[in-house]
């Protein structure tokens, strides 16, 4: 229970801090934090259910993108304001780091394996973003 709260709080703060680094407007900082927090929460919950991290990242990235679209509509701001800071926690920094560390230690098999995993997860982030855009366009077209 404490770890969940811990994760929610840190991911909220980290995403809002990233918004600040990207100079988002002041009145959107909280929303950036919320988008990042919910995306990360979904990722953590899914990985705890022993779901493949690539699938979890795909779904979490999709969730971030959909939330960003809603926020962008609500607050009449460009969508990148919201989805950039939400995507950051999902970036496979740990895997990339371990891949590089293995390479430095001359364990190239492990490096290749970890590197491929990191690549797959990056692809999943991209797919998540694409997926939500597709859904958004489909909804918009079907209304016309």
């Amino acid at each position: 229970m404490i770890t969940i709260l811990e994760q929610l709080a840190t991911s909220f703060v980290a995403s809002a801090a990233f918004g600040l680094i990207f100079n988002v407007p002041k009145r959107s900082l909280i929303q950036c934090g919320i988008v990042g927090m919910l995306g990360w929460a979904l990722y953590v919950v899914l990985t705890q259910q022993a779901i493949n991290p690539t699938i979890a990242t795909l779904l979490a990235a999709g969730c971030v993108a959909v939330l960003s679209q809603i926020m962008a509509k609500l607050y009449r701001m460009p969508i990148i304001v919201f989805n950039v800071s939400g995507i950051i926690p999902l970036v496979p920094g740990g895997l990339a780091y371990n891949a590089m560390r293995s390479a430095v230690e001359n364990e190239f098999d492990a490096a290749l394996q970890l590197g491929t995993q990191a690549f797959m997860i990056s692809g999943a982030i991209a797919m998540g973003l694409v997926l939500s855009e597709v859904i958004n366009q489909a909804i918009r077209r079907s209304r016309l």
């Binding site: 991911s11 801090a17 990233f18 990207f22 100079n23 304001v81 926690p89 970036v91 560390r101 973003l129």
Partner: protein, 254 residues
């Protein structure tokens, strides 16, 4: 005389280019730059204008009885999403007829000259806090929170300074990552920090080219293949520079 006077044509062209330039330089997506310029031109009475935008330049052509083609070279780019938002608001107001062309140009010049919303120290502080938070998110212990904050803050501060001093791209990221690696190793050796790997991962996160990654994907999706690929390459090179910086320190330590 046609319905558009020559000065009106020039004013509209200037307005479109200024809006596009600010969005592109502040980190907006290619699609948004093109869309904004075409919308503003349409509001000014040029429904069939064309714009071609790459990360390093804008070509803009207005049709009509007196065709105008203009080109702007973009050399420095930064990340300032609040400027993107402000220009977006201006373009929306032009669209509904709230602003005249000369008013809009004055407003855009104001936006272009404005300083960033958050001062440097605040950015460094938030990078430091983000580093600590990422350490916890990657299942680190709270005893490493402060060391990660220090390493991340120092690395990001160095990045900001180097970006101003050294005009060579990727070098700032490389050197900042080296400093982060060095500090983390120092902390782990002196017993101030505990888990070296997690400290490095957490404090390197503020350097990650998140905006480039997102924009590359969005550009590719929207069919802006040239922009998408070049932004993707920039993101990849930045990530490699960070990786190389950390790798140098790790292999020196081994």
């Amino acid at each position: 005389m046609t319905s558009h006077s020559e000065s009106h044509d020039r004013l509209t062209a200037e307005l479109c280019l200024l809006a596009g330039k600010i969005i592109l330089q502040s980190g907006g997506e290619t699609h948004r730059v093109e869309d904004t310029m075409i919308r503003i031109a349409a509001a000014g009475g040029f429904p069939d204008s064309q714009s071609y935008v790459t990360p390093t330049g804008i070509i803009f052509a207005m049709g009509g009885s007196n065709p105008v083609t203009r080109f702007v070279r973009i050399t420095d780019r930064s990340t300032d999403l609040s400027k993107v938002t402000l220009v977006n608001d201006v373009s929306r107001r032009i669209g509904v007829g709230d602003l005249t062309a000369s008013e809009a140009i004055a407003r855009l010049k104001e936006i272009e000259a404005a300083r960033v919303v958050y001062p440097d120290w605040l950015q460094v502080v938030s990078a430091a806090i983000a580093s600590g938070c990422f350490l916890i998110m990657f299942k680190g212990g709270w005893h490493d929170f402060f060391p990660a904050m220090l390493a991340g803050g120092a690395g990001f501060a160095l990045l900001l300074i180097l970006h101003r001093l050294v005009p060579i791209r990727f070098f700032a990221e490389f050197l900042s990552a080296t400093v982060i690696g060095g500090l983390s190793i120092l902390f782990a050796r002196t017993g101030f920090g505990h888990e070296l790997d997690l400290m490095i991962i957490g404090s390197v996160m503020p350097l990650v080219p998140g905006l480039l990654i997102t924009n590359a994907v969005r550009d590719l999706m929207a069919g802006h293949l040239v922009s998408g690929l070049s932004k993707g390459a920039e993101a990849l090179l930045t990530a490699s520079a960070i990786g190389a910086g950390i790798a140098v320190m790790l292999s020196a330590w081994n």
